[in-house]
Subunit: 206 residues, 4 copies
């Protein structure tokens, strides 16, 4: 089985992006890694770069400032609404990503099974039902849309700030070592392909 | 213009649902109100009850425990994942609402314009990008799906706990009077139909 | 019984201070109100202004940005550590308020009894064990120290942001009307002087 | 220089206490470790156990569920108010720890200097102005009171939940490895004795 794990460059006020540290040393025989720019217009370049690779799984990692767990996104929206400019200076507001694309697309990764397996090992992981409206959601929607009729499974994982990023913030963090351990475990779970099918709820009650 | 505002009965551990207090006295010449059961199987009854009414706008109100603002939902998901049983004792886990329905459906209410107008008047309102996976999301998705080719516009609004609900909780609240004032203002904004079209971002950065 | 309720002027980035709105119209036959400057050097002026008044109770109100309830402070510290300059431009760091004063002084208000009575009426009130290290703590410590051998009882009450202050923040708020109602109820509880003495814990577990 | 680092047993609903994992392997030539019971009556046993040891520094570690950083406590209060029973079944409510003791006692550890040094190395550390009203505050107050005229310096450090403790909670956590690294660094800072004296504010603005 072939995996691609992507990270993002730093953006906004942050001089580092913990996803870049997470993928360092993650290269395994079947795992490629790639750092993506934080811009709203690179998706075509991305698909051209990987078109011959025939990945079984693509895991996009993104910084989820404020999150306390590794969160696997359920859905991407056909929507861009940028509060801050991307690294090209673009700031799309209230726009679709794909003209006439469906409003939402569910991840094709078995995220329930992954999260249940991780939690049973004591790892702080959960499902998130919003990937925001910025570049994280843009790449997740674009990938899901591009690979919708292909065999490649696509998922997006938000990771907490690293400890050094919250020295002056009242927000949670997670050690890079622990994030790396959980991502490796996720790859292992997917490689084994033997998922739990327990009917545990991982939902949000509102 | 004709409006329907719905509230929900109490559910889970809560003996009250603030939405029921909010709709009390909200009946205006063009505004009907209705209290819905917190169950995953009442939608057909609901549509039968209102099918002759030809509403221009349906606003579903739901309790959003933990929210600090009046939040207008952007999207409903074709997904049920109940952490607690509904008031019938049903607890659907990891299931679609509508077989073969689209993954997500955007609200047909002009929520950006409403939120910008409310914020300009000093009201704490915002857009939310997840309505959860419980009965709130179920009614929102069901209504959007049912009215998808009709002229009725559908929206869902989560309101914070009332002050008396948080006496023993570390969570935000909002006075019923203030919620009522904001809902009335929302109806007024929709009645006037003259929306701001400013390109202000109301998005979430992740 | 004679009461003094004090408010504070706006400070920092806030153009309003909700305590000023709370005390408006709160003047009752036995209740005086006073707006204090947000500075670290006005305490002598304050005591000169009120020295003939013989108040039974002084309640200092302060803005507690981020709090979700009306919180009655248990203790003031002999310590100033200002993150931002006060309204005079002073910014004392790591200094005592009263040379050789005790490290901490407990409020002389029966705050447990007040909070239990308020909670029984459904009001969101609680005890706080830190008044910070800024002007709120300064006035609380100064008053408790000045009146330590006198009959005047002194307390400090932090109130949440007002709803209009959190339009662009992810923090709780409370309507001015509700704060005013709770402060009036507090005055009534103290006037009646018949306190609950239930052994309910209002503590913080760490 | 001789150090004592204490941990606590698990309490309440928690089957583990991360402080016990933190002190494992922390024994260095000049560092003793000790696990304390979570009870309100063990302090005399504690002092008898250590009376010949002549420690220069005692650092009590406690679990601070909900905290996102390593927090060094500024003050202990002469107050017990237990929301849950201790591990003996005792539940003191609204009582002093030491009859006629002062209301508050400041830590005798140079916590500002420690926190500034840790932050400069990128560690998430801060000062806390409340140690609660449970056993953590009890041991901190008891130690500060007992050693008030002696040369031993006393401090209390609250540490976040460990990652496995928050699998089902919406709260921050910190890896045991990182906590251990920060405690070791703290011991090193105290051993070197060369503290920063920068006038940076570490206060809380209210």
């Amino acid at each position: 089985m072939k995996f691609l794990i992507t990270a993002f460059e730093p953006f906004g006020n942050d001089s580092k992006n913990p996803t870049m540290d997470v993928i360092k040393g993650l290269e395994l025989p079947d795992v490629d890694t790639l750092v993506l720019p934080v811009t709203f217009n690179f998706f075509q370049d991305f698909t051209e770069a990987i078109e011959d690779k025939k990945y079984d799984y693509i895991l996009h990692l993104g910084q989820g400032g404020g999150r306390n767990k590794i969160t696997f996104e359920k859905v991407a929206l056909n929507y861009m609404d940028a509060r801050i400019a991307d690294n090209n200076g673009d700031k799309p507001v209230n726009q679709p990503i794909v003209a006439d694309g469906p409003d939402g697309l569910f991840t094709t990764l078995p995220i329930r099974e992954i999260v249940i397996a991780l939690q049973q090992k004591g790892y702080p992981a959960s499902i998130s039902y919003t990937a925001g409206t910025y570049v994280c959601n843009y790449i997740m929607y674009s990938s899901l849309h591009y690979f919708r009729d292909k065999s490649t499974k696509v998922g997006f994982v938000h990771i907490p700030y690293s400890p050094e990023q919250i020295v002056d913030k009242e927000l949670p963090s997670m050690s890079i070592d622990l994030v790396k351990e959980i991502i490796k475990e996720t790859i292992k779970i997917l490689s084994l392909g033997s998922f739990q099918s327990e009917q545990v709820s991982l939902g949000e009650t509102h």
